[in-house]
């Protein structure tokens, strides 16, 4: 097989991993602070339509990307207010967020169906053919692409080496002692939820503006849920998210190539592959219940209420 062709396949796997990395890294921060936000799918789809709509209306790509992140922040504010201030159940609130998000996005998106997207500028485009194999992998991608592959390392550094990261982990692992140390648990969790919202919004914008530059109803197609599964897969370690996202990106890409080669497997089975593999991977990871218990943020999904 041509080595350049292999390079192209790896590139397309990386491209399809980008939204998963962004959303998972965002959710990882949220979960590390002890909050389980199941609204990833909803926040992503809101980001997707906001980005596309702002781009179409204003014509500005920068505004669109920022707007999508802001939309993610706004929608996650609802979740933050409910779970942190009104102390609602995390699971139910997250589900409501997803249902609400899908509805709102379809409502706004009605006027944007069938409109072609815009070309997103790429970095180092001139170097694309400089080196065989490596060039297409390294050069000629959008800024979001590079950001996504830097994000797991940044997140890792932030969590392990900075003071704020330490505070964040303390809040997730033992909110009571953190609170006794004078840390405002609620504030930390608010910020983590909003950050998760911003990253999911960005992931959505990547889908609708860069990956497949158009608006299709329900275009996230379960990626938000796979991102959630990736966080479990990674045992809350950002670097492992990178590996997981590449595996799932690979599964998405493989189906296209299998069809192209003419493998006689029904297309539906190939499409179902990422979901089935998610289940299998979850089973394999979770079997070791001790490991899961040790790496899960201890207060994950539990409400924190301080009487004052």
């Amino acid at each position: 097989m041509d080595i350049n062709f292999v390079g192209l396949i790896i590139t397309s796997i990386m491209a399809s991993a980008v939204p998963l990395i962004l959303a998972s890294c965002g959710e990882l921060i949220t979960e590390r602070s002890g909050v389980l936000n199941l609204g990833v799918e909803g926040m992503m789809i809101i980001g997707a339509i906001s980005g596309f709509a702002i781009m179409t209306v204003t014509g500005s790509l920068i505004l669109a990307v920022l707007g999508a992140m802001l939309a993610g922040v706004l929608i996650s504010t609802i979740f933050a207010f409910l779970t942190q201030t009104l102390i609602t159940n995390h699971v139910a609130t997250g589900l409501a967020l997803t249902i609400f998000g899908i509805g709102i996005s379809a409502m706004i998106g009605k006027n944007f169906v069938g409109i072609p997207g815009k070309e997103f500028p790429v970095l180092f485009g001139s170097l694309k053919d400089a080196i065989p194999f490596l060039s297409p992998i390294l050069f000629g991608h959008s800024i979001v692409f590079y950001f996504a592959f830097a994000l797991p390392f940044l997140t890792n550094y932030f969590l392990k080496k900075t003071k704020i990261g330490l505070i964040l982990r303390a809040v997730g692992d033992s909110p009571d002692s953190a609170s006794n140390q004078g840390i405002n648990v609620r504030l930390v969790r608010y910020l983590c939820i909003l950050y998760g919202g911003a990253m999911c919004g960005l992931a959505g914008a990547y889908l609708s503006m860069i990956y497949t530059p158009q608006w299709i109803e329900n275009m996230t197609g379960g990626r938000g849920w796979i991102a959630l599964a990736l966080v479990v897969f990674s045992t809350w370690n950002p670097i492992k998210i990178l590996i997981g996202a590449m595996i799932f990106g690979g599964l998405t890409i493989i189906q296209f190539h299998m069809q192209a080669i003419g493998v006689r497997i029904p297309v539906q089975f190939l499409t179902a592959l990422p979901y089935i593999v998610t289940i299998i991977v979850l089973v394999v990871i979770s079997r070791d219940s001790r490991k899961i218990r040790l790496s899960t943020p201890s207060s994950l999904g539990k409400s924190f209420y301080k009487d004052n």
């Binding site: 199941l38 609802i78 409910l82 009104l86 102390i87 609602t88 159940n89 699971v91 139910a92 609130t93 589900l95 409501a96 967020l97 249902i99 609400f100 998000g101 899908i102 509805g103 709102i104 379809a106 409502m107 009605k110 379960g222 849920w225 959630l228 599964a229 479990v232 029904p266 539906q268 089975f269 499409t271 179902a272 979901y275 089935i276 998610t278 289940i279 979850l282 089973v283 979770s286 079997r287 219940s289 899961i292 009487d307």
Partner: protein
């Protein structure tokens, strides 16, 4: 003296400002437990009106088309019951799971798989008549739903796998299986390659209740589920165990309840209910298998279960209320060109407001008169 005066004033001010005080209740209020769903619906209507206003519609007119016009005649009422039936059935099943702290959110997949299994059986008998066909088809649907629900249950109990993610992933898988079947091996040989199966024989169809209306005998399945679940919840040891596990898993363990057995049981029950809802759809209004057998009933039923407070009678009312959002979305689209997704937005809002108003369950807002 001079120093003391402003300080005293300040104290007074501070006292005065504390007109409202939020106090934690000793016990969740029972009256509010059943009143907050009503409050949630009211708040949803208000914000719905607001959304319509923002979109440039007259809010009251839009709300009228959304919530009153669709059920103003006999046909509309029958459609309401038709939509409420699967919602009620699934929500009853889900309440078994939710009561005992099991997050089965894949009822949509269990519905689809139940429909696939029962549809397959119905297709075997497509050119036959006989009283025995319908019961077999219905049973097959329940078994199909149970089989599908047993996957997250077994993975949760024996492999410690998160049931939320597994049950949800299986929704996508079930829809793809259905898609494969209706496009491929099960597609109607005389169907000009439309993605649909043959029509089922009349013996595999649920009888209509009123000639000319679509409401069918599936509603009795839902009502039976309500009665049986009420009995189980409030009159049996199993119901008690579920309640205890819902409050505190530790207590349940300490009391020696067989946790694993119960997890599997509640999943099987909710899978059976979802499967039956699937049967009701394909042997009732649809009469064959095709790609879109359910407008996300399985997901919407989660909202119904919460809105009905996991109480069988409450779920009846909740399913009727939420069913209106389906009809209203269609009517509002036809008459006012309001996008049909507004229905989903309403459903999301109902759940938001319901969860938010739960705050009143645990906290009291006290109005204190200013002390002077």
């Amino acid at each position: 003296m001079l120093m003391k005066l402003p300080l005293k004033n300040l104290e007074c001010l501070w006292e005065e400002e504390k007109l409202i005080k939020i106090v934690k209740r000793d016990q969740p209020s029972r009256a509010i437990f059943f009143l907050t769903p009503v409050l949630a619906i009211f708040l949803t209507l208000v914000s719905g009106g607001l959304i319509f206003y923002i979109l440039g519609f007259k809010p009251f007119e839009a709300l009228k088309f959304f919530f009153i016009v669709p059920i103003a005649d006999m046909y509309g009422f029958s459609e309401l019951l038709l939509k409420a039936t699967p919602l009620c059935l699934i929500a009853i099943g889900l309440s078994f799971c939710f009561k005992s702290n099991n997050w089965n959110i894949g009822a949509e997949g269990q519905l689809t798989f139940g429909a696939i299994v029962s549809g397959g059986i119905a297709l075997l008998f497509y050119d036959q008549e006989g009283f025995y066909i319908l019961p077999i088809v219905i049973l097959a649907g329940a078994i199909g739903g149970m089989l599908y629900a047993s996957i997250p249950a077994i993975l949760k109990t024996y492999f410690n796998t998160n049931e939320i993610l597994v049950s949800l992933m299986l929704v996508y898988v079930s829809k793809l299986i259905l898609d494969y079947l209706v496009v491929g091996p099960w597609s109607n040989p005389e169907g000009f390659n439309f993605p649909e199966t043959r029509q089922f024989s009349d013996s595999a169809r649920l009888p209509l209740l009123v000639e000319g209306l679509r409401i069918h005998a599936g509603i009795f399945l839902a009502l039976a589920a309500v009665v049986i679940s009420w009995f189980i919840f409030y009159k049996t040891y199993l119901g008690f165990q579920m309640k205890v596990s819902g409050f505190s898993l530790k207590t349940a363990k300490y009391a020696g309840y067989k946790g694993k057995k119960m997890i599997i049981l509640v999943f099987l029950i909710s899978g059976a209910c979802a499967g039956l809802a699937g049967v009701g759809e394909i042997t009732g209004p649809i009469g064959q298998l095709h790609r879109e057998i359910s407008p996300d009933y399985g997901f919407t039923a989660i909202i119904v279960a919460f809105l009905g407070r996991l109480n069988p009678v409450g779920i009846i009312f909740a399913s009727l209320v939420v069913a209106i959002t389906y009809l209203g979305a269609e009517t509002a689209q036809i008459f006012m060109q309001i996008p049909k997704y507004t229905g989903q937005v309403f459903q999301g809002m109902i759940l938001f407001f319901l969860l938010a108003s739960d705050y009143l369950l645990f906290f009291k807002i006290k109005f204190i008169g200013s002390k002077k």
